[in-house]
């Protein structure tokens, strides 16, 4: 089992560092998803994002998502998901998902599933701050 595989952090998130957590001679493929702070939403310019988490629960729910993935796709060997919280500037990395597998088959489906589940169920919130206001945003609207 990978150490610190599911983590909420206030520090910068490095894709290379998260991928390195999966190091294992048995793997032949790693797929990553990197969520980045976008500077424009619905035509408005974003100054920065403020992410907030219920960190203790969020790490548990991320671990459950990892378990779901490995139960559903036998080819997936390890899962690491790191989500940053606090104030993030445009272009900064908010989330890194990394999955390792012996072979490439199905890793794309698995990473797609991971990001969908994160957006649905992990207790993390995002506030968009524009020049003239701010709003908490969820997938629902």
């Amino acid at each position: 089992m990978v150490e610190r595989a599911f983590q909420i952090t206030e520090e910068d998130v490095s894709v290379d560092e998260v991928v390195a957590r999966l190091a294992d001679p048995a793997i032949g493929a790693v797929i990553t998803f990197v969520g980045v702070v976008r500077g424009v939403t619905e035509g408005r310019e974003v100054r920065y994002l403020e992410y907030e988490a219920y960190p203790e629960m969020a790490e548990n729910v991320l671990r459950q998502i990892g378990d779901e993935i490995r139960a559903r796709w036998e080819t997936i060997r390890e899962v690491a998901i790191v989500h940053r919280v606090g104030r993030l500037q445009v272009g900064e990395t908010a989330v890194v998902i990394a999955l390792s597998a012996a072979h490439r088959h199905e890793v794309f489906d698995a990473v797609h599933y991971a990001i969908d589940r994160i957006k649905e169920t992990v207790p993390i919130w995002k506030k968009e701050v524009w020049a003239d206001g701010a709003e908490w945003r969820s997938e629902g609207g």
């Binding site: 969520g35 988490a53 219920y54 629960m57 548990n60 989500h83 207790p123 919130w125 969820s138 629902g140």
Partner: protein, 94 residues
């Protein structure tokens, strides 16, 4: 001491910690409170009580999910002394 005996000792009241996040946290102005409620109260009872105490919560209660001790639960879930309850508005990570 079992949980039942423990709860009876506090005059039929139990104490729970309630945590708020994001928009509802800002609306009521705090992220964490301690609440005393009657033994046997459900999550739904607690939400009703909180809404009376903090009318600003009313805007959010329709959308809120609740976690007890860091797992999602339903409104019928019965609370126990020392539970950590969290009021979770619709999530938006990623």
């Amino acid at each position: 001491m079992n949980e039942w005996a423990n709860e009876q000792m506090t005059n039929g009241q139990i104490a729970v910690k309630v945590r708020f996040f994001a928009a509802p946290r800002e609306a009521i102005g705090t992220g964490e409170i301690e609440v005393e409620i009657p033994t046997g109260s459900t999550v739904g009872d607690l939400i009703d009580l909180l809404t009376e105490e903090y009318p600003a919560l009313r805007t959010y209660t329709r959308f809120i999910s609740v976690a007890v001790n860091r797992g999602y639960v339903g409104m019928q879930n019965v609370l126990h002394d020392g539970d950590e309850v969290a009021c979770l508005p619709p999530v938006g990570g990623g």
